[in-house]
Amino acid sequence: MIRKHENPLAFKAGFLSLLVHVIFLGILIFSFNWKAVQPANIAQVELWDSLPVEKPEPQPRPEPPKPEPKPEPKPEPPKPEPKPEPPKPEPVPEPKADIQVKKEPEKKPVEKPKEKPKEKPPEKKVEKKPEPEPDPLAELKKMMLEEQMEVKPRPPSPAPVAPSPTPAESAATQGQVDEFIRRISQKIRGNVNRQLCGSGKPELELEISLMPTGEVVGTPRLLKSSGLSACDDAVVRAVLQSQPLPVPTEPNLFARFRDLRLKFRPNDG
């Protein structure tokens, strides 16, 4: 008798305690601005430009591979929220099934409240279905998920582009970001003098800060040297000579270009 009593109580106590911890954790995470610049919608993109020298030619080429995954979301209305739901039933039942299979041997009264919070981690799209019991927790988790999804790579991407844009943000915006990335890369590449970089395969990294006019603030900071100071200098000159860099005029979009990390492999391609 006593055991029966204690179990549900202990469970509830444990659950509530955990709930309070998670809430506090959420508050902790969200009250501090962990990120140096923006709070959300940050994508890390690597652009490979292995095309010939002539400027007009490379421009059309990177475009075909990139829009392939995108035309599907692009024609969709700006708010993707209703639309991504239809694909959801596919992944969602699977975790449910997994969870259900795992849970069956365990205590049944626990299943229902636990299932819902667990379904959310594997889901890739934002859900706006209201949750019965843990409303504030669910919303916090949703927001955390959104941020999470931004960092995960999208599987069927073509070779050059790695991590994917956030689903919450419109895919058209990501297309614009990619376009500016390509333009910046092209412009700087046109000024890089690889003859000053020896015969090896040097790599170097610079960090720059940009003004909305596309001008570089101060001088580029060398994060990783190529090992040849003439090569480092040539690349820094190439970046400075490429001013003003083509950056978006729209402030939210420009915010992503305010700080750029540039990785160079001058003797490749």
Binding site: K114, P117, V151, R194, T219, F264, R265
Partner: protein, 429 residues
Amino acid sequence: MMNFRSIFAFLSLFLPLTGQAALTIEIVGGAAQQIPIAIVPFSQPAGAQLSSQQQTISDIIGADLRRSGLFRVLETRGVANQPHDIAEVRYPEWSAVQAQALTIGKIEALPGGRYKVSFRLLDVLRQNQLTGLEYEIAPAQLRLTAHRIADVIYEKLTGEPGVFSTRITYVTKVGKRYSLQVADADGFNPQSVVASNEPIISPSWSPDGTSLAYVSFEKKKPVVYIQSLVSGKRHVLANYKGNNSAPAWSPDGRRLAVVLTHAANSQIYVINEDGTGLKQLTSSRRIDTEPFWSPDGQSIYFTSDRGGSPQIYRVAVSGGDPQRVTFEGSYNVSPRISPDGKSMAFISRGQGGFKVALQDLATGQVQYLSDGRQDESPSFAPNGRLILYATTVRGKGTLAAVSADGRVKQRLSETSGDVREPAWGPAVK
């Protein structure tokens, strides 16, 4: 407990969030070929217009940098800002003409007929000075000073030593007259070292740049001489029975390799600079010739047909069995090792003619550099970047140069008569 585990799993997803915030862009390759540089004409001392052979100091500097193939020397006449002092520089006007570097300078008169030449090399984009130097010179040294300034600019921007202050030697034939000449690397100021009605071939520079070894037929047979460029005096290095040819100086300047036929076929010998201590290095029943020392002084590369066709071999200076070095093609001669010892320039028959080729000594990979049909006598510049050689244009011997990566090609201006047998002198301080 399942809920703890799931929460922990959930929370572990937060770890990657502490990554960097900046957008990363990769830039692969580079399209620029040259560094755009502007050279503002130096100010002149009042009333004087110092020049050398109709070239001002900034003309000579510009010509040097342009000839290297690594610089695009911009026209400065259209720019309103014509600074001579750093305070006068207006950087935006120079970035407007796409200059990355700017050279300004002054020539001022000193008592006693001497001049002070000062210059500054400026970074137009970062708007700061890269270097600045002063020289006190006699008027006759104007040209050399211009070359030295070009060397400083070249080294500052490319990281490699410049070779604009070096000299080259070559043999001209005008009518029946042969003349061994030494000129500046830009071909100006040729001086005759020795002239004769009989052929002069195979000049070789001493490592300190003060002497030349060469082969002269003035005694109606090939004899090797060493002549001082300082005093003009010469002595016989090798005058054995038969042919004496192909002198090549060791890197320490104490010995030379030569080819003698006094015993049998052409074989390679090593001899002291004063003509003593003759030692035979190769012994084959074939022809071994055209020796060239490796920069570390340990091996000698040479041409031999011991394998049935002319190929290049390497033998230790201390003696031993020669090893074959070239394996592509049926005709490879005239080995010259780069100053860093990593590659070998030579003449190879292929692609419709005899061309300058470059072999990577580590990998054995060969690249054809020149495109003439009868190219010969390759010679490395002391910084290893350019290769001087003799080519034939419209039946006349001319000198040309090609960069070691094959990208820059230039032909030296033609003079009257034939020009052959070039050799690039060492860098001297």
